[in-house]
Symmetry: C2
Subunit: 475 residues, 2 copies
């Protein structure tokens, strides 16, 4: 997930100083720490209902600040409240409990074993850096916030500077809903500005950080978290080029569909998606270009993102061995849509070509002679959120080989579908080796995201009433 | 888990250079990457058998280098091979698979959902820093190595300088066993020396680090891992003081047992255990001291550890408000056994008193007036591997309150038992908030340790034969 470089933003005059925010977050964490999963399920449901009820106020503000179409924003808000309710449901059914019970065993081979019951407890106050490109789904009440609340943590959200009014409105809707539900409104607080964000990462009261944004910004904040006297987990979702391999059979059997699907996927949301297919290996670039439909894209999130896109596009196009193959001028405030082309040979010389993310409606076609070449250049590739194989109607040896090659680098591996459009479910995985994620063993989307914000505790020989309910004999 | 500060050690002349080791580890990782859990179960069993068969050669070398009694070493070796077999069993039964399957659902509320199946894949070559105090259980074939192999990763072990001959012998026994089993012997390689260890942490071919040792050394290596251009997970088990609270009822009802148990636990292994109870809150220090049996301890691991202990003990004893309450001179190469005393009032002034680990047979008694005082001083406490409540025969309100207070800081919470003697099982948890661990959401002991070295991958719309066996419809 990529976003515009943050800018310093003056906080609203009434906003309390950071120290007060963090003191309140600590107190709120203490209150929610021992809440039951059912309590937290109720809170998430209340938040979802409040957000849905405020749609008429939220969407116009989001549209004004992000230029995203209302239909897209309506869908994204629905996704966001669905996400709240999915976590609520899984909390209520116990699916997010992480329970391991070893009863006492005098005959355990390494020596008598005591009764040990392991479950998880919340980490404490979590700091969330909201993203610019999904003002709802990765915003104030987005995935990181919802998974941290589901985990039983209080949350401080650093608002994205791209949509300050929406961030404040969302936070105030949430605060009112929490108050109505009898919960501490400080469970979810907003801060603004780069400096407060960085200071909060360094503050000992923050126990974990969730971040969605650029590789550069995320790397800096990661270093701050790691440089604390008491380092804390930093869950950053940074950059990704989401390679796609079109196999020979794919091209022969499904070429027109693939070209259409590609055009729709890389321009979706004006290419401002973390899972945008930014690199596509094809056997014949000219033929692929000829099969592509006309390219269109809507406006960029803001002027800074548009400028960043134009610069990144020019930089990539200026690399040795890279050419612009197609460029549809946007004009009238719209971005150019661009397809660039290169070859596996050029990538062999300059491996960074396939790991350079261009945040906007552009993608790089890489012409290959054989899949051996693709496998070779992928060998030096870094991490990515997704890897896609576009094969023929049936899975052949080429397809198997490319699925395996991409599994080494990607958090999600896709066959004959496109990486944009990330469903929220129990099996979803959104992450991957650096720089896709700073924490490759975790996910930032899907219900497994909750486990980032809880830590295991083993209870040894603890009587029934001293145990957390999840590990009692009678629950 | 604490260990002596490492010293530079010349590698054996025949040892290949680090670059060769890492190239081999990469090739070995590639070969084991797609192995089946059953294959890896077989390898771990072969390793366990080989280690058991070599006990007659291993234990004398271990005894010579660590001064640990042969009976202890025999028990520790049994624990180590049991650990191999436990992971092997759990691999064979599929218990370590981490599987989530969401079948396609056209009616999924946020929009039609594709078929998504999530399981995990190995991270790649893992670097393990072995500990000094458990030459087998946290040594070359210790918990980190076994969990990384179980995860399907190749392993490079940085030998602890306290037992170089044992490390080399263990590695050669393992290499021979792997060769006999037809596996790549480079699956497990040894390196020596501080410089190679640090260089390996920084090398892009290493994909994760496991470390057991001192807070200072671990913190430095953690910074190296975080400072890479491509940061990697660093799983460090560092320092811990393992606080114990003796409640008023505990003292009244079980005082003599508690004093006996404490004396045995804090002097076990000459206090060189990561879970040694280093801080004990008692209502009456004088009475507690009077109830304690005579104190004895065996030799320290080596001269450097002995010197480090003596210095740390003197430093703690010199702090304002701390006094030596009992000190049994060791003499004849044995360490002094010491009990220090202070008060909750002194801890309130100097909170570090209860987070200062003294690695050796010493412990600090903290006299309290009320449990309010204990709760207050624990409020500023950092992380710890274990927290123990010694209460009366039944769990009362005081006990509940102290269990809860310790759950905020500890990875394992114990009632009326002692923290030393860490069983290896499915529910075990060995870790905790910093500095107990650099990765509080993970464990370094127990079968859950395997998940540190695998990352999730979601397979979307992938046909049956392209899926890993664990997520196929027909397994």
């Amino acid at each position: 997930m990529h976003s515009a470089p943050p800018a310093t933003l003056t906080s609203a005059p009434a906003a309390p100083p950071l120290d007060t925010v963090l003191a309140r977050a600590t107190a709120a964490a203490e209150r929610i720490r021992t809440s039951s999963p059912a309590d937290r399920a109720r809170l998430l449901t209340v938040l979802a209902d409040a957000l849905d009820a405020a749609a008429g106020r939220l969407i116009p503000v989001a549209h004004r600040e992000t230029h995203l179409p209302e239909a897209r924003l309506t869908g994204e808000l629905a996704r966001t409240t669905f996400q709240c309710r999915l976590f609520a449901d899984r909390l209520a059914t116990g699916a997010l409990d992480d329970v391991r019970i070893d009863h006492a065993d005098p005959d355990w081979p390494m020596g008598a074993r005591p009764d040990i019951r392991r479950t998880t407890v919340p980490l404490g106050p979590v700091l969330v850096f909201a993203a610019g490109n999904f003002p709802f789904a990765f915003g104030v009440l987005g995935g990181d916030t919802v998974s941290a609340l589901a985990a039983g943590c209080s949350v401080v959200v650093k608002a994205h500077p791209g949509h300050p009014a929406l961030s404040r409105l969302t936070a105030s809707v949430a605060a009112a809903a929490l108050a109505d539900a009898g919960a501490a409104p400080d469970l979810l607080q907003l801060i603004e500005g780069e400096r407060d964000g960085a200071d909060a990462v360094r503050d000992h009261r923050i126990k974990a950080v969730g971040f969605t944004g650029s590789t550069r910004g995320g790397h800096q904040l990661f270093q701050l978290a790691a440089g604390r006297p008491d380092p804390i987990p930093f869950y950053g979702e940074l950059g990704s080029t989401n390679p796609v391999v079109v196999t020979p059979a794919g091209w022969a059997e499904r070429g027109a569909d693939i070209a259409d699907g590609f055009a729709a996927s890389f321009t979706l949301g004006s290419g401002q998606f973390c899972t945008q297919p930014g690199v596509v290996f094809v056997p014949d670039v000219d033929a692929f270009l000829a099969a592509m439909p006309p390219l269109v894209a809507g406006p960029m999130l803001d002027a800074r993102t548009a400028t960043g896109y134009a610069t990144a596009l020019d930089d990539l196009a200026a690399q040795d061995g890279v050419r612009v193959a197609a460029r549809t001028p946007g004009g009238d405030g719209l971005p150019d849509v661009a397809v660039l082309r290169t070859t596996t040979e050029a990538v062999r010389t300059t491996p960074s070509l396939i790991s350079t993310e261009v945040f906007g409606p552009a993608s790089l076609l890489v012409e290959y002679g054989t899949l051996d070449e693709v496998e070779e250049v992928l060998g030096d590739f870094e991490g990515t959120l997704t890897g896609t194989v576009q094969g023929g109607h049936a899975l052949d040896e080429d397809g198997l080989r490319m699925l395996d090659a991409l599994t080494r680098h990607a958090g999600r591996v896709i066959w004959n579908e496109w990486p944009t459009g990330v469903t929220v479910s129990d099996a979803q995985q959104h992450g991957g080796p650096w720089p896709a994620s700073t924490a490759p063993t975790t996910t930032s989307v899907g219900t497994a995201a909750v486990h980032r914000f809880r830590r295991p505790v083993a209870f040894q020989n603890v009587p029934e009433r001293g145990l957390p309910p999840a590990v009692r004999d009678r629950r």
